[in-house]
Symmetry: C2
Subunit: 201 residues, 2 copies
């Protein structure tokens, strides 16, 4: 398959590396290719500059965000974190809207599927990092697109029984709103190798 | 111990019955005793009127909400559901505040502990209804109050290892924000005998 990953931060890199390792033709997109390539310092989280990461994965080509999304499956794995009032971040939008719905409205011809946004990026592509049963949520308006995303999740190592379909894209409100308790858990546990599981399913 | 339960709906009744069954001296509070006793019809969720439930548990006395909260542990198990815009309910407050924090501010001399608000009331008092490991969150500003609430949760059947302290009362923002995904799960699963678990702890 061919995948374009939007974003060259740690999440985008982790997903792009996994897709490439699975043999997919993968490109990674950034707003400004020149600026991304010019950075020589670690980012605010201490991650190495893009070029350093890219040196080990030159087959993942760097491109701009420009893409024709019509008819394509768009997998939204992000959370709408708002750092404008400091730490901890809040969510914007929240409660009566979600990032997943915003993206679907902005690109009505794309098939938006929300998934993977409720865990650390290392867990996204390697669920075996977390011991015991744990859950990945899927939501979106297009059943066939959700089937395709489910196949991708299976290839990432997610057991079929742990992929939980919550219905249409408005369910993204619920999964995005898991972020604040995720942040508290990160603080309480001191590591990010944990995940939500829905017991009783 | 002596417990006053605020609220005569299905959650209040379930908690009061459990406390009475454990041998605690328990009263249940309502805004208007006369009105609560006068009801003869099921509520909007189909639960029987209070008097019908009360007939089997006359030792739980019905009183008004009036109580002196200073110095006492106040266990907040509620969610700030806003039905004003129809279904599904939204949360108010949300994101930058929580019901738990509102209650703590309103009663600064009480020791507010937020817990149990992330599951169905039957699961609150009988965690064995949900198969497998699952989690109950605790948050609050007073460590000794959290210890007392932990003892109560142990007596309800919660294993010590499944009681997860998230820190101070601001963590209530996170646990209250689990409600929207809980509602989606309820719809997707078709039953309420499920619960969140944090795998990797």
């Amino acid at each position: 398959m061919r995948y374009a990953v939007f974003g060259t931060g740690i999440v985008g890199r982790t997903i792009a590396a996994k897709l490439a390792a699975l043999g997919h033709q993968t490109v990674i997109g950034t707003r400004d290719v020149e600026a991304t390539l010019a950075r020589t310092q670690p980012d605010s989280m201490g991650n190495p500059p893009f070029t350093q990461w890219h040196a080990s994965l030159p087959e993942v080509r760097l491109k701009t965000f420009a893409d024709n999304l019509a008819g394509k499956v768009l997998i939204d794995i992000a959370n709408p974190l708002d750092f404008s009032a400091g730490m901890p971040p809040t969510l914007n939008p929240v409660n009566t809207d979600s990032l997943g719905e915003q993206i679907q409205r902005a690109f009505p011809d794309a098939k938006v599927v929300k998934t993977l946004n409720t865990m650390n990026c290392e867990v996204m592509v390697d669920p075996s990092r977390v011991a015991g049963a744990h859950t990945v949520f899927v939501s979106g308006n297009d059943a066939e697109a959700k089937n395709q995303v489910t196949e991708l999740l299976l290839s990432f190592g997610w057991p079929k029984a742990r992929i939980l379909d919550l219905g249409d894209i408005t369910a993204a409100r619920g999964t995005e709103m898991l972020l604040p308790v995720w942040l508290r858990l990160w603080g309480a546990l001191g590591h990010a190798d944990f995940n939500f599981h829905i017991a009783g399913t």
